[in-house]
Symmetry: C2
Subunit: 514 residues, 2 copies
């Protein structure tokens, strides 16, 4: 071994850098372990929600906190920082630079935050989840308010540890969307608010309604068959995935194994179907990440905006399209004979029904949804800025609901206690849902421009060209580009709400005559 070093020694007998382990290779190896731990953490969570017997919680909690602590140790290992430092002034190619940029980003964030604070956030989250459940069942926000204040304070301290000189909300937002910047989120959300409030008002005054053609309940087993039909139609790769049920649908995994979960309500068969298509969109993105880059940032997703754009594109631009229902109506009629005389057009209208009176975000349609997000975003910013106490949240919530949607919750579980996110301490997460929707319209337009006759292809049961376009334009790049660059390369412009608003105008203008 030492002979090799001597053979390769440079002038004066000093070993050349090249003779040691290549620092880029060492960095890549270290990061691969981090990714393996992240994936393991995801499996522990998937199993807990889908498979684990109830009694398993105590041991599972230990397993998850151990994996989390070991991941933190690896990310904050001084050797990792040294390797990143030694690569700063090297000539790196585009991909290598991207790898260094991405690892540096998480390494800086995790090093900046004291371990005590991480543990305090994690412990408060577990506690807050229980308190949130209690407050919800008691319909009493005041039970939740004190711990929400604590979560807000901890989140602010967390942001200040990372960067004391910036708006803490902007720093928190970057946890979920690292590159677009809060000013972009702010601009898009403001455009959405301006566009949607009058349109929803117009729909409220429209005399058209689009009732569900399902008059009788549809059993879970039939709904599961339908969900599998839809996944078949979408080209889900069953050799690299599976479908299960979970109390809160989600998707998880990596490019070799990306799983989908759903849930069934016998009275709302269309809901499970669209939710399954949504989760498929996430899983399809994951499966499109380059397999040869597993363990590298080049094989990881580009943050929550892009992830959500993929789920919403498949859910709304495909699953809520006329083309989809022209093809899928026969499948539904086969599984549910009671609706065999229903036209594709009626199913299309039913899945696009707008309910301006819906108080619940996760049940909201494509229009009202974003006002639910705007409301949460505005409240979060006030909380994190220290302008609002948790106790004042319900009043602000209810006033904004009245202002934006013309309705007022009658109980906290229909209002400020409806989401789990704040109990987790996840502030800055909600905006990515709307950014994802906006991006999905922008991407769909670009795909349709590139692929001739896209809607006819979907109506004929062929979703492959769309999936392949998304794979080559978005998925295959992993974290190679920053979010904005990825969007510009794919669509020719920066993130813009215009295609989304145009899409809504065309679709809902037709559906509601507005």
């Amino acid at each position: 071994m030492s002979n090799t070093v001597l053979d390769m020694a440079g002038p004066c007998g000093t070993p050349m850098n090249e003779s040691g382990p290549d620092p880029f290779e060492s960095l890549a190896e270290k990061y691969e372990r981090i990714v393996a731990l992240q994936d393991t953490q995801e499996l522990l969570a998937w199993d807990q929600q889908v498979m684990m017997p109830e009694g398993g919680t105590p041991a599972r909690s230990k397993q998850r906190s151990t994996i989390s602590a070991l991941e933190h140790d690896l990310v904050t290992d001084p050797d990792l920082a040294d390797q990143l430092d030694s690569l700063e002034d090297r000539n790196l190619d585009l991909e290598q630079s991207a790898v260094v940029r991405e690892i540096r980003r998480i390494q800086r964030r995790q090093n900046a935050v004291p371990r005590d604070l991480i543990e305090a956030r994690s412990e408060t989250s577990s506690e807050a989840l229980e308190v949130w459940k209690e407050a919800r069942s008691a319909e009493d926000f005041s039970i939740f308010a004190p711990i929400l204040d604590r979560q807000v304070t901890l989140a602010r301290e967390y942001a200040e540890a990372i960067d004391p000189d910036r708006d803490p909300y902007a720093v928190l937002f970057e946890e979920y969307e690292p590159f677009l910047g809060l000013e972009t989120a702010d601009r898009i959300l403001s455009e959405l608010k301006d566009a949607l409030v009058p349109r929803i008002e117009a729909i409220r005054n429209s005399d058209r309604s689009h009732p569900s053609p399902f008059e009788d309940p549809v059993s879970e087993s039939v709904q599961e068959e339908l969900a599998r039909d839809a996944l078949d139609f979408l080209g889900y790769d069953w050799d690299r995935g599976r479908l299960d049920t979970a109390p809160h649908p989600f998707s998880t995994g990596n490019q070799f194994d990306a799983r989908v979960t759903t849930r069934f309500d016998e009275d709302e068969p269309l809901s499970a179907l669209l939710s399954t298509i949504h989760e498929f969109g996430h899983a399809r993105y994951t499966l499109g990440l380059p397999s040869e880059a597993y363990g590298s940032p080049l094989g990881q997703h580009r943050g929550l905006t892009v992830h959500e754009s993929q789920s919403r594109l498949w859910e709304n631009h495909v699953g809520r399209s006329r083309s989809f229902w022209e093809y899928f109506v026969d499948r539904v009629a086969k599984r549910v004979p009671a609706i065999e005389n229903t036209a594709a057009e009626d199913l299309y209208r039913a899945v696009n029904r707008v309910d301006p009176n819906s108080l619940i975000r996760v049940e909201a349609d494509e229009l009202t949804y974003h006002l639910h997000i705007v409301l949460r975003y505005e409240i979060e910013r006030e909380l994190i800025a220290g302008n609002l106490d948790a106790a004042e949240v319900p009043a602000m919530w209810n006033d904004k609901m009245a202002e934006y949607l013309g309705i007022r919750p009658e109980s906290p579980s229909e209002g400020a206690l409806q989401d789990i996110h704040w109990s987790h301490g996840n502030f800055g997460y909600f905006p990515t849902y709307s950014l994802g929707s906006v991006l999905s319209a922008q991407l769909y337009d670009a795909a349709a421009a590139d692929i001739g006759g896209l809607e006819e292809k979907i109506a004929a049961g062929n979703t492959t060209p769309l999936a392949e376009w998304l794979e080559s334009t978005i998925h295959q790049h992993g974290c190679r580009y920053r979010t904005g660059d990825l969007i510009e390369r794919a669509t020719g412009q920066e993130l813009t709400a215009t295609p989304f608003i145009e899409y809504l105008d065309e679709k809902y203008g037709d559906l509601y005559g507005i």
Copy 2:
């Protein structure tokens, strides 16, 4: 913080040991992480065999090797050795001494083995598994022989790294059964061989047969219902467990979540049922480990002999008993109407049928099984001692089959290629199967002596007294005692084959008139 140390300083101002973190507590915390990683590794393996889509292998392999490397890092961390050293001369109570003894044991073994050798064994195992499959499907042992020789060499090197002065096979055996010693295994296996060869010969010459009452195939779904009935009867705690299918049945988990797998062959309904009961025995042991000791050796099982004693006790002494079938016959008749006129006695006889012509270990009955083990044990010892080349294995295998069982395999897949263990490099594992059977008879006798009317209770559907006896006598002790001490405390004597041989004589004397 430093004030605290000064306040508690001893004479001459040196800090007292007591002022720092308690070394026993630190050791316990470190070990808890190791256990959490072991459990995580088990979940990754369970998922891979039960749930994972086929394409998931590349990522799963990385996850498993990462967890394995991190576990190795924790076990070989010099801080752990220091803490163990500092505890050696302390006054520890019985439980603390046991904790130190058990952690020291794995810490010494893992430190003794060079990392290169661990990786070579792991890589050779993956490769050997593929070669073994290929050799099996080609029915050609010579394809497998070279890599088996490599596995033998690596296993020998591994044993020599741990202790160069002892019989390497004895060192390998301790990997699975740490305390009974190879001389005990040798004594027991030799007693079994002497006892079983003439008895099997007598059964071969008996004119009695006990055919299965199942003339028609039983569907997988009905068999699954039966398996669940059996688990209900046995008192399996569904809040801490689940039943799934896997290509090779196994059980896995911890005291909060111990899962069972099985497989169904429509032509062999009794086989799945007994296999499920066997795996229940493993899971019941796991669920009986003390929950408050999770993360400590006191909450872990006492090696493979004791583990196998639990599975075999439930499988053979319960599942193959008259009492069980007196109770369970009605359940079977309810699920399989075709046998509703079958007597409990006929089912009892059918599950205890002896087939001296069976060449396959995993299909063998309670008698011939142990000659399959003796044969493997004798061949393994010759291989590890360097007295036998892998290429010579099939001839020795076939000769021993003829000598012990009076039959000769016609193809390698019925002979020396039937087991997966050697491809994994697991030498020294097989004897624990027979030791477990022997111990199960010894334990059952002790339980029956302590519990009045045990068989009547089982026949009445009440297995609780037996389960509780095993829990308080074996399960609750985790690794508190060495194997031999645990056995003596539970049964009043050291491990002995006598109860097992007496049990066989009584049972099979009656069944075959021998």
